[in-house]
Symmetry: C2
Subunit: 249 residues, 2 copies
Amino acid sequence: MHAITQSETHPLAGRFLQGRFPEAARIEMVDQLEPLMEEPRQLAEGERLIARGQRATRASILLEGYMLRAIVQDGRRFIVGIHVPGDFVDLHGLVLKHLDHDVTAVGPARVSSVSHDALRSLTEARSDIAEALWFATLLDAAIHRQWIRNLEALDAPQRIAHLYAELHHRLTHVDRHSGLTLRTPFTQADIADMCGVSAIHANRAVARLRELGLGEIRRGDLYVRDWSTLERYAGFDPAYLYGPGRLSR
Amino acid sequence: MHAITQSETHPLAGRFLQGRFPEAARIEMVDQLEPLMEEPRQLAEGERLIARGQRATRASILLEGYMLRAIVQDGRRFIVGIHVPGDFVDLHGLVLKHLDHDVTAVGPARVSSVSHDALRSLTEARSDIAEALWFATLLDAAIHRQWIRNLEALDAPQRIAHLYAELHHRLTHVDRHSGLTLRTPFTQADIADMCGVSAIHANRAVARLRELGLGEIRRGDLYVRDWSTLERYAGFDPAYLYGPGRLSR
DNA sequence: CGAAAATTTGACGACTCTCAAGTCGAGTGG
DNA sequence: CCACTCGACTTGAGAGTCGTCAAATTTTCG
């Protein structure tokens, strides 16, 4: 036996902002959101949920799997963000009307959507819920900034280490991960596009992490001996994820 | 004689979202914002407006000059964003409560602030104004994404070209720039930290732009022969700035 | 003028790219 | 069960980009 969890009573919106927001207010918000969410939809591997420039009319919460934000140009793909279950993957579209990037599934994924109309009725009536949604998009922005820092500061092996450290923390917030194995459906080409290096160099960087004894990546899955060593190597500081706990510094 | 402009009747908030938002709604919002803004304050060169982790209680609009968002670590400075007049430079703090980065002036700058309390009263009463503020922060996020793409896709000379092309467009939106000279107070070390390269390499990249006949940077000021050539060289596409005009694509 | 800051140049090594080729692993048809 | 095939992964070689150290030159400003 175990306690009934939020994600069971609210299977669609239940993980939204989990671990990031005052829990009482969060649960109250999830109560409002849950009935607005549509029937979950399965996305095939690599399927695109919304394209750059396309008029956005719905927003979607990722329930299962991973999704990417990518800018595709001249056949090259530049990944500018990644999402884990519990994230609204395209909430920026509610306010921006269209996105500047594609949103696609990496492995298989499952999402539930809500129409912008329904969401807007909610935000117009409830400024606190509007602010929670706003908060979620600002979390994306904070992660963007950290990625900029990573690209400016780290070499390829460190970037890969940082990527997995980030996923480790984000998944932990939504109870999707614990222990020393982090499973993902990423190919080395995916990792390369997230880190801004060539696939060949990503391969060498993966080999380097193995040599250093920091972790082994096999078919996207990371097997790590000790998270704190890996995080130190990557210069990882979880403050930018705005988890529970007080002001950073 | 000339027409009375928004920036004269509303010297503090008048340029906020100029060129980015339906003008009627924007003017109405600026009307609400203007009386809440405090007396302008001059910032010295390099002065820090708010530090990473510090509790944020006010938000500030940049009136004059340039400001940076930077993550400082082990004595190294990683610039993750830049602001031009008309921008709220620390609006993320209204919702996040504290920022993950410092906000500092590059050259001399002038700002006007508004207390979070005043701003929150406004957003609670007016969901449309809340959404406009939200929009402004999402514009920051879109620019963050483009910077990520730039770091992943461009070499040093192209990054510098892209940086100036972006400033050209952003300044044009707020009527702060036209013509073939773009004045900034940036040192080459500043440019280097924005582009994620060493100061020495930034110098060589600046020299390369000169050799290519694309533009000459002297003491931060760019003298360009032809903006469209420079923009093509940098792979610049203004869609991410969400200016007037329809959906990209 | 003189000091400090900013810019420039040279040399060398590290990181990363591309091209090319070879290996491994899961799924398919014989 | 085994050969085949396709995608993912791995390895090698040579070149370009970029970092660092050191030093010279130019510009700024008291």
